[in-house]
């Protein structure tokens, strides 16, 4: 493989892996807040034990998110030096701001959550849970500002330098609030919170299924399903605005997403297959709906794949499939979350073993859906690394030979596999042990303290 392919593969692997844990930590951040709120109001030792379990699960997940996040911050410079020179004037500022406004906040106050229970007031502790979650939400904001600028660059001009052309900032607010930033932020954060909700419900369902720590299990299922249901419904709205933003700003991407070959109204497909060789798409689809959703009319024509030069098109089949399977996955999740939320209110879920089993495993689906969504966004952006401005093939580090990227890619695969096993052992161990009553409130506490 050549340098470009290896660099792409390394970035795809490390960023996809990183983004398995981001949804968990941002999603669980909200769960921690809501559980600490319960304890703050009730003051009961079992409610304290409940938050403490969430904080431990959160911290183990956060750690792996931090570890794999450092990779990403290095990666632009190590593997994509030409890209870094091109975008640094614009792209660097949100990364620096992410450190200053988000990472410091979440890391510092996570220290308080892990070690500060006996040292700060309950109010300070409760506020700290909010600050940790706020920090993670801000971190998502800054990184999505940067990512969206790559999709829909704005507020810049191109200038020539000794080492090639570069983008120079002309309008900070135009660059920050670039056309796809807000829809992308809400769409992304929405999906992360859905994941957090389902993970909370999964852990709760585990206890109900086993018949231990049932009070905690009930609370987790109920809070988790509420989060999942609320944000699933909001997903219909945020997904819509995200799709509109793509139709308006990225014609080749939307044409690939729907396998839309000839100029005309764009349908919405449910499932299908793009026959790239014969330039047709066989799909179960409803004509004109994408046009309608984007423009208000079923008849609005948009250019098709045939209208563009082949070298300006993304990989069509992958873009099409990832997009449609993302929608199917979240479609299922919207139904499941609303239905189970309702049934849980009626007390049915707890008494129905198969529903609990479903809940224990269904959190995997939003993880898959999120990966599919990112694949649509990033693969659909190809061949551009910065839309319309810089091609991915032109963005690599010229001083790094292919064998070094292959070597480090191998290292990443090995190390990340080890981390995954380590993380799984820790989190499953924590869940099996369950909420542990705090010191001074019973015999379990003394036993637990001795074990630490």
């Amino acid at each position: 493989m050549d340098v470009v392919a290896l660099a792409k593969l390394q970035f795809a692997f490390t960023v996809a892996y990183h983004f398995l844990f981001v949804p968990l930590s941002i999603g669980l951040g909200l769960v921690v807040v809501l559980f600490e709120r319960r304890f703050y109001k009730s003051g009961k030792p079992q409610d304290q034990a409940a938050t403490e379990l969430w904080i431990k699960i959160f911290a183990a997940t956060f750690a792996i998110g931090v570890a794999t996040g450092i990779t990403m911050e290095f990666a632009f410079g190590t593997n994509w030096a030409t890209y870094s020179r091109f975008v640094g004037d614009i792209f660097g500022a949100p990364l620096a701001a992410e450190g200053l406004f988000a990472f410091f906040l979440e890391s510092t106050f996570l220290g308080v959550l892990l070690f500060g229970r006996g040292r700060v007031s309950n109010k300070f502790y409760y506020v700290s849970t909010w600050l940790v979650w706020l920090g993670s939400m801000l971190s998502a904001l800054w990184i999505i500002i940067a990512n969206s600028w790559m999709q829909t660059p704005a507020g810049f001009k191109i200038v020539q330098t000794a080492s090639g052309p570069k983008a120079e900032l002309t309008d900070f607010f135009a660059a920050g609030f670039n056309p796809s930033m807000l829809p992308r932020y809400f769409h992304t954060v929405n999906s992360l919170l859905i994941t957090g909700g389902f993970v909370a419900a999964a852990i709760g369902a585990y206890y109900l299924r086993k018949g231990v720590s049932k009070e905690f299990g009930r609370a987790a299922v109920s809070i988790g399903l509420s989060i999942a249901a609320i944000f699933s419904i909001l997903m219909i709205v945020s997904g819509h605005f995200q799709a509109v933003s793509v139709v308006e700003n990225q014609p080749t991407k939307v044409a690939a997403m729907e396998g839309h070959w000839e100029t005309g109204p764009i349908p919405i497909g449910v499932v299908g297959w793009v026959d790239v060789a014969n330039k047709t798409t066989k799909a179960f689809e409803i004509p004109g709906v994408t046009s309608f959703l984007a423009s208000g009319s079923f008849k609005t024509p948009y250019p098709g794949l045939n209208d563009f030069k082949a070298e300006d098109l993304p990989p069509i089949q992958v873009t099409y499939q990832t997009y449609h399977w993302m929608i199917l996955v979240f479609g299922v999740l919207i139904l499941v979350s609303c239905l189970l939320w309702y049934l849980n209110r009626r007390g049915v879920v707890e008494k129905t073993p198969w529903m609990l089993t479903l809940l224990i495993w269904i959190w995997v689906l939003p993880e898959i859906g999120i990966q599919l969504g990112w694949a649509t966004a990033e693969i659909g952006r190809q061949p551009w690394i910065v839309w319309g401005q810089l091609r991915t093939v032109d963005a690599i580090s010229k001083s790094v030979p292919a064998y070094q990227i292959a070597l480090t890619l191998t290292m990443f695969v090995v190390i990340y596999a080890l981390l995954f096993v380590g993380w799984w052992r820790v989190v499953s161990g924590l869940i099996k042990r369950g909420p542990v009553l705090p010191a001074g409130s019973g015999e379990q506490a003394a036993a637990a303290a001795a074990k630490v």
């Binding site: 431990k56 750690a63 870094s84 004037d89 660097g92 200053l100 220290g111 500060g116 001083s399």
Partner: protein, 337 residues
């Protein structure tokens, strides 16, 4: 070279100094971990002493990296791609270190592995950051497009290794000073002895590094000798070492303060030895990456300045808050790792 360019040269220095000060001591504690942690309880105290703060400390590095990317994109691109394998080594070390705390706390069967991850994840960067800094002072081979033209072994030169050992000695001094402040009993005694040992080694290494700079990088040496600002940092370094030597038992806090001045002084000297370059070119100074030829636009630097003016005081405020909450000796029992 504009005012904002110089300001950001200084601010990047501040962020890196913040990193060397704050993460310096917790890297040092990690590098000393198997040597000072004789019992499980010692080890637990060592981990717990930095438990609440290490993660926030590491953010100084991420923010510093982000600031270099934003303010001097060409420097970020050249250094990160040029020092590829060395940086990947640091990265893998930091990855293992970042997960080692939580994974160690909740996985008894794999504790040995995460102990090693914590130790190597701390010791390796402690050495390599100095090596990287040494290479920058010495200069690196770059071409007219600003691309690095050396390889991994270019970076392993005697001068850079001397600075690597200097950095390691400093982090170990900072780490043992921190640990003395946080520990009691046998661990405390060992920490105090180690503090004294590494303070001495640090003083020796400062002299060695100074001599090496005169011999190998006369440009940097003469630049330091002729800059009044560099002299201020030299004075600070002497104060740090002197105060470190004379602060004795019962003044563990002062000892740590003293040790913490050294990273500030050394980063200051480091910056003054290359100013106004960020990456001196080996051989032909005309190829060096400087403030003038690698700074971002005035608008970007203005925006960044506003971000820093809002953000830095905020961070310092809650750093102060959290360090105060966790001040004093480590109290084991139930909490944390």
């Amino acid at each position: 070279m504009t005012f904002l360019g110089v300001l950001w040269f200084a601010l990047v220095g501040v962020l890196l100094a913040g990193y060397a000060l704050f993460d310096g001591f917790d890297l040092g504690v990690g590098a000393l971990y198997p040597f000072l942690g004789k019992s499980d309880e010692d080890k637990q105290v060592m981990r717990a002493s930095i438990g609440p703060v290490w993660d926030g400390n590491e953010v100084w590095l991420l923010t510093g990296g982000g600031a270099i990317f934003a303010a001097f994109p060409a420097v970020y691109a050249t250094v990160f791609s040029g020092f590829y394998l060395a940086l990947m080594l640091v990265l893998f070390a930091l990855i293992f270190r970042a997960v080692s705390f939580e994974f160690h706390a909740h996985d008894e069967a794999w504790r040995g592995l995460w102990d090693w991850a914590f130790f190597l994840g701390s010791a390796l960067p402690s050495l390599l950051f100095g090596v990287a800094a040494g290479n920058i002072v010495r200069g690196v081979p770059i071409d007219t497009a600003g691309e690095f033209t050396g390889n991994f072994f270019t970076l392993l030169n005697p001068y850079a290794l001397v600075l690597g050992v200097l950095g390691l000695a400093m982090f170990l001094w900072q780490g043992s000073a921190w640990l003395a402040m946080k520990s009691e009993g046998g661990l405390y005694d060992r920490a105090v002895r180690t503090r004294s040992l590494w303070a001495w080694i640090f003083v020796v290494m400062v002299l060695v590094a100074a001599a090496a700079t005169f011999v190998f990088v006369p440009r940097a040496a003469s630049q330091i000798m002729t800059s009044p600002i560099a002299w201020l940092f030299l004075v600070l370094l002497v104060v740090s070492m002197g105060w470190g030597r004379f602060a004795h038992g019962g003044e563990d806090l002062h000892s740590w303060y003293a040790a913490s001045l050294s990273p500030l002084a050394l980063i200051g000297l480091w910056a003054m030895s290359i100013f106004p370059r960020l990456v001196p070119a080996l051989g032909d100074d005309a190829l060096s990456l400087t403030i003038a030829n690698s700074a971002s636009s005035q608008l970007t630097l203005t925006v960044m300045t506003i971000i820093a003016v809002i953000g830095v005081p905020l961070v310092l405020f809650y750093f102060f808050l959290v360090y105060r909450i966790f001040a004093g000796k480590v109290r084991l029992g139930g909490e944390g790792y």
